[in-house]
Subunit: 230 residues, 2 copies
DNA sequence: CGTACCGTTGAGGTGAGTCAAAGTAAGTGG
DNA sequence: CCACTTACTTTGACTCACCTCAACGGTACG
């Protein structure tokens, strides 16, 4: 919302009613079952959306970072949050109270239209990703996860390599990938053995990102490793 | 949109600009890659959304029926359709041209709000279902599919049993379940052997729906058969 | 210095995918 | 109306990725 062209008056209203909320690592931004108080937009930091499944285990849904809109579904559906959002690092969020959103959508059709577009595009990319990930081998899903992490806050080191610090533990990575921690550990071991990625706790070094990502891209293109589906 | 309370004037506009479009079995409502011309609402019949994957195989995404809104993502994102919609039975669709939608959202904030809500709720239920389905055994996913079919247009026969005619072939069912046709065939054989469902081509008879669905419900509640996840 | 949790490794089992072949339904042309 | 083609469905045999269970090393904390 911040980056789209917007009339000065509208932008001013938005700016005026914006609350910046800060969270420390471990803080809950909102919890499953709560009513939606407004719309959150991640300004910096990383948060994890998760829900508690039938067996009372936390299931990670997705990670959100800078630029992501959070809580829109519950807000517009007028239904309770179905996920809990927890700060994984120190986070800054813009918070737009429900009243602000209502006022803006009521007064400025353009705002509605931009919001519609933003949400539709979000959803689209998410779906596309999701669809592509589904039922690929854990190894590929994990590489894809690394790529997202690297895009989000990877640091290039002199010789073409990239370093990332993963903000979550193995168990949560596994949950995001819909796999088990043991499988993630094995994927890690394998990548390490091949020299494609080096792991030191939560710190990852990818000597040649191109080589790593080519694995999944090639497979996707040639349909070679894509199991299932007709 | 039809069932929500709406001011008479607005409803009139909507009514005025509504085009009813009829499709025969096999007709394409829209195709992947086309620009979105408007919003479709299923009035009757069943259609299948699918896309062509990297290996040029059709991958079914979801089935839509009475009351479902179709094409909203591409319309609001102002991006081409990412799926093809094909009529599986004779279908009646309400079509709201883009101009109508724009006019209404521009003139009537209430319309925007209702639309936001409708879309958010759609997405919510879909996501919830989707999340739950992911990585359950094919058997469970298939039972869940049967349940949806039965809800949509199952016919109760005297003795508590239910009959449904599946509008799609095994290959497409498999695609919807993210499984292979062989696996679906095996699930069918198994259910038949257990007497939980009887299959005759595309016609299914479920003698005791309660017993069938209890299988997945119990498993979901006790977390017993839920593989993966932490 | 235990207690607790995370992460990794090994052994073993299994759901479901692949391949191949036979059976069935459906549409086409003579 | 029947042979023929074509596509859909089912079954069996085999394989493999990943889950499960279990054990062990590392790090943190009381």
């Amino acid at each position: 919302m911040r980056e789209v062209p917007f009339r000065t008056a509208d932008a001013a209203i938005l700016e005026q009613s914006t609350l910046v909320r800060n969270f420390e690592r471990g803080d809950k931004i909102f919890s499953e079952g709560e009513a939606a108080a407004g719309l959150y937009c991640v300004r910096s930091g990383v948060a994890l959306l998760s829900y508690r499944d039938a067996f009372r285990a936390d299931k990670a849904v997705r990670m959100v970072g800078s630029g992501d809109l959070v809580g829109s579904r519950s807000l517009f559906a007028e239904e309770p949050h179905i996920t809990t959002a927890e700060a994984l690092t120190a986070c800054h969020f813009c918070f737009f109270p429900k009243t602000t959103i209502v006022r803006l959508t009521d007064s400025y059709p353009l705002f509605s239209r931009l919001l519609f577009r933003k949400l539709a595009r979000d959803r689209g990319s998410r779906n596309a990703l999701f669809i592509r990930e589904q039922h690929l081998p854990v190894r590929f899903r994990f590489i894809h996860f690394l790529r997202m992490m690297q895009k989000r806050d990877g640091i290039t080191n002199g010789d073409g390599g990239v370093c990332v610090k993963l903000p979550i533990m193995r168990r949560q990575i596994a949950s995001l990938l819909s796999a088990r921690p043991e499988s993630v550990a094995r994927a890690i071991t394998e990548l390490e053995r091949e020299g494609l990625a080096l792991f030191d706790g939560r710190n990852v070094t990818i000597p040649d990102p191109g080589a790593l990502y080519r694995i999944v891209d090639d497979a996707a293109q040639r349909g070679g490793h894509e199991r299932h589906y007709s």
